[in-house]
Subunit: 309 residues, 2 copies
Amino acid sequence: MNIYIATELSVIEKKIIKINLNKHNVYFSNQISQQKPNKNFLKCEIVFGNIPADWVQQSSKIKWLQLASTGFAEYSDIKKNFLNKKVMVTNLKGFFAAQVAQTVLAGIFCFYRGINLFPLLKKEKKWIGEPLRKKLEILNNKNILFLGKGSINREVAKYLEPFNCKYSFIDSRTKNNIFYNKLKLAEIIICALPGTKNTNKLFNVKVLNYLSKNSILINVGRGNLIDENHLIKKLKNKSIKGAILDVTDNEPLKKNDPLWTCPNLILTQHTGGGYMDETKDKVYFFIDNFKRYFNGKSPLNIINPSRGY
Amino acid sequence: MNIYIATELSVIEKKIIKINLNKHNVYFSNQISQQKPNKNFLKCEIVFGNIPADWVQQSSKIKWLQLASTGFAEYSDIKKNFLNKKVMVTNLKGFFAAQVAQTVLAGIFCFYRGINLFPLLKKEKKWIGEPLRKKLEILNNKNILFLGKGSINREVAKYLEPFNCKYSFIDSRTKNNIFYNKLKLAEIIICALPGTKNTNKLFNVKVLNYLSKNSILINVGRGNLIDENHLIKKLKNKSIKGAILDVTDNEPLKKNDPLWTCPNLILTQHTGGGYMDETKDKVYFFIDNFKRYFNGKSPLNIINPSRGY
């Protein structure tokens, strides 16, 4: 079979693929331009990696696209991208759950235990000590609202068990009045919703204004979920306690983006899903899924691109 | 009864004491000098707060000293401080466990998820993003060594349950060869040992050199447990991954202390035990313990000062 690898890999990762798929033709491409499809790509039945969505329509060979991400909003326009092709698409659902959940936990504890301050105080060689103690908090008994019922939030909930927190899960189908009432009470709001038409700017001025003074808003979903200008206002006038954004409207942030200078905000620069062995483990996932495909089994994580999540 | 309050309290906290102990004479003292005992102190049978150790010998009235701390090394010289007085001493054992344990967890996740870097990058308006992902880690399956079997480490262990870590507990009675072997394998070392003669500079050059390249050393015990100069060397040449010090040899750190400029080090400025309601909750603990004492029951947390922990 002809296999196109559209993910940037190290020498070792390439070797892992070569050894495991040594009976097949594997074409590696490190640089994916947004322009016309690569010649090798056009020969391949199987693709691993996030090629530009409009390449799909231009291939007469592609049968299976294994994405290297969980999100796939950019492929959701089936009519335009897939024409009438029957291309199976699989994603990495659940692959990032532990990493992102641990970034969420890191962020929460940073606010409660002051660790967002200590690196800056250290740089200034400034000892505060005792007076800081009274500003710290513990996680126990907090009221937590999970937006999204997927693997990330379920993983976070697992980690929170020892802390006796009160929590509820809602999603984009939850009725507005229930959502608003829960928002008012929440001390930690963890948003792991996908980017769809329904969730675009879900946290608009009205919704952000339901947040309480003690609340921490965390977004590990998609960057377009929040009205960033209004969030900045609320953080500046301390009408919420803090925010942790792994995803933002613009990535990378431009030098003049007002988020950079916004107080009580932790920016994790879309690293939430990352870890040392991330790419290697993605490669192993693809190899295992390929073996299922090759042996006539159904690959794991088949998605319906038109749903958008 | 005459009760002396040697802890700095807010108006509200004083009111809580006055209301609860309204049948007794309560003397408040906000400023404890290291010199001669306060006159009111000399009238009192009961003391709440950490008075200078040598005051005890000068009082003919004192029967019970409720400390506002867990540690009590400064009272350990019974012969000098207590002469032959039968003074009952109680401490706040366990009171700080959840707070300190959560500072420990915050520190660990900061290293693994990069949050010790993000506040500094934000200040510089510097986006790194993608390349940072490969430097991040997750807590799962790490090898953890707890030094000390007290309430802090037991609390941390409770929090670590969802992460499938391998861990062992040792204390200052563990044989050296067992200690050294465990140190070599440990990826996270959490030191919550008390300050005694046995533990002084426990982490000397030899012991620090057993730590592996991937290890994070955390000290929430006493500042004198670690040879700081050698720790700095190891952090600078990256022969260990990182360190989190809640306690240091000198507190507050002087401007020229080399810890300030040491890389891969989080300094939490002895705030580990702190939280918003810390003093109020200490007051409530004292009131409850006083009621036990007054009703002829044994107060909680009676300690033997000569043991030093």
